[in-house]
Structure formats: structure tokens, C-alpha cells
């Protein structure tokens, strides 16, 4: 199904995300690259949407538009009724600090900070009190099974453990949305299953909205909806939502 067509009536539930007519064009060496084309998409609160697609077909760009890390060239990216495409940067930053959790393929941990401090970094923009920060970080690390590795530097942790720290960092502020860009791309099969199992559990327990980008079919098939990005266009291949 091509979602460039109007979305089916989502029912009484107001969508958390509403993207309409979104395009993103990059200019590189005088050439225009159309990363996302005329995209219309609704994402409900608590939904798990997985996006597949080849490299360079706009998956990461879509995720960045959803996370307020970039702005579309055209169109609206409404999150909880607010257009992130038109909002001032300070407002977008606030939304990013409080509502979005990011997980990256390369973990993106600060190499000089230990696990505790890496997770704590996500609470700095929220000006949380130090004692509360400490408690929240400890709880987040416990939730990913790394309570005993809080003082370890990223270099002292395995790839799977580093991604768990990254997940703890994404979840410590209790965001509404978790945006994961190839979260298992750098992991072996066993660790991949472990991380996806963890994300599945957290999604269910915390009723998160999870948007996950991956090449890996075994990862995306756990999602409620699976979309495929091709040449900047998204088409939904599977929708298992009740």
C-alpha cells in the first residue's frame, strides 16, 4: 500500500505524528538530491513502525525529520499538534529534549564519560535536580540490565552493552517516542536478538511509540507496521494493528 494516499481513518485516536506533503531535498555539489518525496504519514501513540529500505533511500532522513533533527524542504511534520517544520529551533530543541529518545547504529556514546554519565547527559537539558538525576539514571541502567556497569567507560563495554547504555540514555527521560536508527546494525546475531527483545519489552511496558529503521527483516517483523522507503517514498507493506 502506498501511503502517499490519504491514510485510513485512524478512528477516535488522535495521531501522535501527522506528516503531510513532506519533502526533503539536499543540495550537494550543485546537484539536488530528493531524499524524501511528498510523504504523508500518520503515526499513532504507542505504535511500533518499522521502516526498511536500501541505503540512501531516505530512511534516516525520515527519522531525522520525525526527531526534529532536520527540517523538511516542504510540508508539515506535526507532533502532538505542533508543526516541527515551522516551530522555532528553541521549541524544537525542547521537544527533542523531553519527548524523543534516539538510538543510533554506532551507539554515539561519549567515549570519555562512563555509562552513568552518558545516561545522565540526556537529563542535562531538562535541568533535573542532581539527586533525582542519579536515581533516574540508576533506574534506567537497571532496566537495561547494566546496573553493575555504571562506572564503566564505553570502551570497557561490549557492543551489546554499549547499545544498552544508549537505550538507557534514550529512555531515562521517559520520552513519548523512541527513534531507533539501525539499532542492531553493528551487533552480532545473538546480541541483535537480545537488543530487539529488550526494545520489544520496553515498548510494551512503557507504551512507547517506536519508529525503527533497519535493513534486517528479522528485526522489522516484530513491528506492528512495516514500511519500505524507496527513492524517498514510503509504502506500507504490513499492518498488524488491530
Amino acid at each position: 500500500m502506498d501511503i502517499n494516499h490519504p491514510m485510513p481513518d485512524p478512528g477516535p485516536v488522535t495521531p501522535l505524528y501527522q506528516l503531510s506533503g513532506v519533502s526533503k531535498i539536499y543540495r550537494k555539489s550543485g546537484r539536488e538530491i530528493l531524499a524524501v518525496q511528498e510523504l504523508d504519514l500518520s503515526i499513532s501513540g504507542g505504535e511500533w513502525l518499522a521502516v526498511q529500505g536500501k541505503t540512501g533511500h531516505g530512511k534516516t532522513t525520515l527519522l531525522q525529520l520525525l526527531g526534529g533533527l532536520d527540517r523538511p524542504t516542504r510540508g508539515r511534520v506535526e507532533f502532538a499538534g505542533r508543526d516541527l517544520a515551522a516551530a522555532p529551533e528553541a521549541q524544537v530543541r525542547k521537544v527533542r529534549a523531553s519527548s524523543f529518545g534516539f538510538i543510533f547504529q554506532t551507539f554515539n556514546l561519549i567515549p570519555t564519560l562512563n555509562a552513568h554519565e552518558n545516561v545522565e547527559a540526556a537529563l542535562i537539558p531538562l535541568r533535573t535536580h542532581r539527586a533525582q538525576r542519579r536515581a533516574q539514571v540508576a533506574a534506567a541502567l537497571d532496566s537495561v540490565g547494566l546496573g553493575d556497569r555504571a562506572q564503566h567507560l564505553p570502551g570497557e563495554l561490549s557492543g551489546g552493552q554499549q547499545q544498552r547504555v544508549a537505550i538507557a540514555r534514550a529512555l531515562v527521560k521517559e520520552p513519548k517516542v523512541l527513534l531507533a536508527d539501525e539499532p542492531t546494525g553493528n551487533l552480532d546475531e545473538d546480541t541483535r536478538d537480545e537488543i530487539i527483545g529488550l526494545l520489544d519489552t520496553l515498548w510494551r511496558e512503557r507504551r512507547l511509540t517506536l519508529v525503527l529503521v533497519s535493513h534486517d527483516s528479522s528485526v522489522v517483523r516484530r513491528a506492528q507496521r512495516i514500511g519500505v522507503m524507496s527513492r524517498g517514498r514510503l509504502s506500507i507493506r504490513q499492518d498488524t494493528r488491530a
Binding site: D70, R96, N108, R169
Partner: protein
Amino acid sequence: MFFFTYLRRELRRRMRQAVFIALGLAIGIGLVITVIGASSGVKAAQAKVLRALYGIGTDLTVTTTPKAPSGKPTTGQANSGGNFGPGSPRAEICVNGKCYTSGTVDTLALGETGPLSEAAVGQIARLDHVSAAAGGLLLTDNRITLPSASNPNLSPPTSFTVDGTDIHYPRLGPLSNARLTSGRTFAAADQNSDVALVDSNYAASHGVKVGSTVTIGGTRFKVIGIVSQPQAGTPPNVYIPLARAQALATNPATGKSMKGEVNTVYVAADSAADIGTVQHEIEHLLPHATVTSSSDLANEITGSAGTAAKLAGTLGKWLAVLVLIAAFAVASLLTMAAVARRVPEFGTLKALGWRSSRVVSQVLGESVTTGIIGGLAGVGLGFAGVAIIDKIAPKLTAQVPSASGAPSGTQTITGAGGTAGTPIGGPTVGHTTIAVPMSASVTIGAIVLAVLLAIAGGVLAGSFGGWRAARLRPAAALARVA
């Protein structure tokens, strides 16, 4: 605090680079401190010379150029050549038109400077921003014993310098810098007494003690005290009350005594900032006078002290500036390179919701800390540099304009040899060479400047890096990871 934890960890991670930046800044700042220390050492040496010339409290001196003597003959005449002996022609000395052919001639002559009316001292004292003004007479006592039948050869003339001191202003003039080593100094009651203070070096070489007498201008003065002057100067040999000096000295222009006249006015301004204003006021009041400030006098000092001052003031200053600029440039480039390497890190922080200002302050904090470490190391290097200069610096020499001056051409002696026009008396050259010890030192001001420079270097480097970090778009920064 998270800020300091992050800062500490980052500096530790980039230890080698941080040390390199800090070292660059340290060398620059160390050089600045060393140059300032050396410069202040040279200035202190110059100040010693200046103080020795005109005293501690004197900001300005006022002098005039002497006028040509009036119609009376000013030179003697040789009657004939050859040794003196029975029947030989006699030598003759003429002073201010009065000629002598026998005995000892002892005269008190005016120096290189011309006379000024004592009324001018009062006028200067009443000017705005003048805290005090005092007149003085810098003279040379010349003595010559003419040949006689028992001693047919002409003895070489002797001379010493005499300062007529206004005893009401002990803090102005050459005597202000002196330290009493024995006896007593002038009292108000000594104003018209034949009492004298003698410089310790002169006293030692001539066997003068407290209680002994010295003959000045043919008058015997009782020595009431011995005074010592700093090494770096050519102090007068004898100090007598101004009124007595005025009574004994003769104005070569008029041939009369110098009552009511002085040849130097010592002026103290209210503050250092007022010196320029006071100088202009006096120049306006006495258009024919020469008004010399300490800085003018410093420019007249030549020799290695002058050369060292110029070296420290020009070459040293520019060398320090260039090294500092290089250090700042290297620090800025390295910080920018470090920021470039940390683009994904800053992109991640921005994705987490960090403000750009917070990221910038983190970069600034790191570079300012590096700068402060460099500054502290620079202060250490500066101390070391100054210590080395102190250890190896040779004694400076200063050629200063002679304070006591030479006679103004009113006295000449002609000997039996018939060589006409040989001037007699004190220092006949315009400059005196003095050895001045140089002691470089690190001042609080230099340390404060070093810390400010270090912070400035850190802020500059951090600003470039921070500016680069602030401009990062999170998406673009994160794209660098992939």
C-alpha cells in the same frame, strides 16, 4: 557538577594536545613576563640613575642656558712660555675679569646652566598641580695655586662640585636621595651658617670627617654630616645652604654674587598624571627655560642601560607579541581541529536536546582551562626567565648628562707654557658613565597580565571552536558518524 566532570575527562583524553596548547601559551606568556621583568629591571636601573641625579621626589627640573659673559675678559693670557723661575715671566689667572698672578685662587663657579631668578621658584610653586618647588645652585669649586719662586711648576687645578641646597625642601633636589651616614643634616637654623654636608665617597678620598672643615670659594665650612648617595649617580661632593652658595658664587654675566638667583628649580607635581600639564605651564611661564621631566632625562641616558631599555621596549615587546600571536593561533587551530573530530559527539548532544550555548560553553571551558594551565606554567617560565636574566645579565652602564656641569667658560688658566684657554674645574665633559646593577623582577602586574592573557588565549581558541560547534546542525553532525 556534570560540566566539570565532562571537562576533566575530555582534557584527560586529549592530554597530549592540551599539553601542547598549554605549552605554546606558556612560552608566549613566559616570554611576556620575562620581557616585562627585564624591562622593569632596566627602567629601575634608569630610575636609580635619575634619582641619583635629581632626587626621589623631583618630577621636573627647570634650567636655562647661560648667557655670554659681559664685557669683562673671560680668559687669561699667557705672558710667555717655559718654566717658572727667577726672572721668568709669571703665570696669570683671570676669573670673571679679575686677574691673579700669585697665591691660591679659590672660586665658586656656575655650571653649565644659567641663572634663574629666585622669584621664578615662587611663581612655579604657585602654578596649578605643583605640590612643591625649590631652587638650587649647582656649582663647581675650582682651586689653583699659582707658581711661585719656591714652587716654579704650575700645579694641576683641583675642583669639586658644590650643591647650594634649599634646606626648607629636604625632599627635593639631589640631597633628597642621600642617606646620612654620620653627623647630622641641615637644620632651619643653618640657613646662613657656614656648614656643609659631604658626600661619603668624596669624604673618604679626601679624609674629610664630621667636624673637619672644607674651603669653598675661599670660605671655610664646618662639616656637620657625611651623606651617602646611591651608586648609580654622580652626586655633588659637598652640600651647603643655598643662601651661602648664592653669597659666594659669582654670576659670570654680571660679575656679581648670585644673591636671589638659582640655576636649577626642582619641581614636584601633585601626581604623575599632572607632570605633563605642569611641564607645559612652566614652559608657558618661562619660555626661555628648559623644563626636563624624568622621562626626558631617561631619553638622554645612553650606554648599555639605554640600549637595554630600547631592546626590552622594542625588540623584546614585539618578540613577545609575535610568540603570543603564534601561540594563540596554534591554540585556536588545534581547538578547531579537536571540535572537527568531535562533531558526532556534539551532534549527539544536540540530539539529546543540549543548547548550542551549552555545547559552546563546554568547548570554551576546556580551552580556558588549558589557557589557565598554560598561564600558570607561563608564570613559572617567566620567573625562570627573569632569574636567568638576573644571573647572567652584565652590569649596565649609563652615560648621563653631568648634573653638576662644567664651568661656563668664565675661567681659564694659562700656564707658563703659554697654552691659552684651558678651562679649569670639575667635570668638563657633558656626560658621565655610571655602572648600574640590573635587577629584573616579576611584578604582580605582570602576573595579572599573564593570567588575563592566558584567559584571553583560551577564550579566543574556545570561541573559534565553539563557533564551529554552535553552527553544527544535529542531522549533519550525526551524518558524519555513518
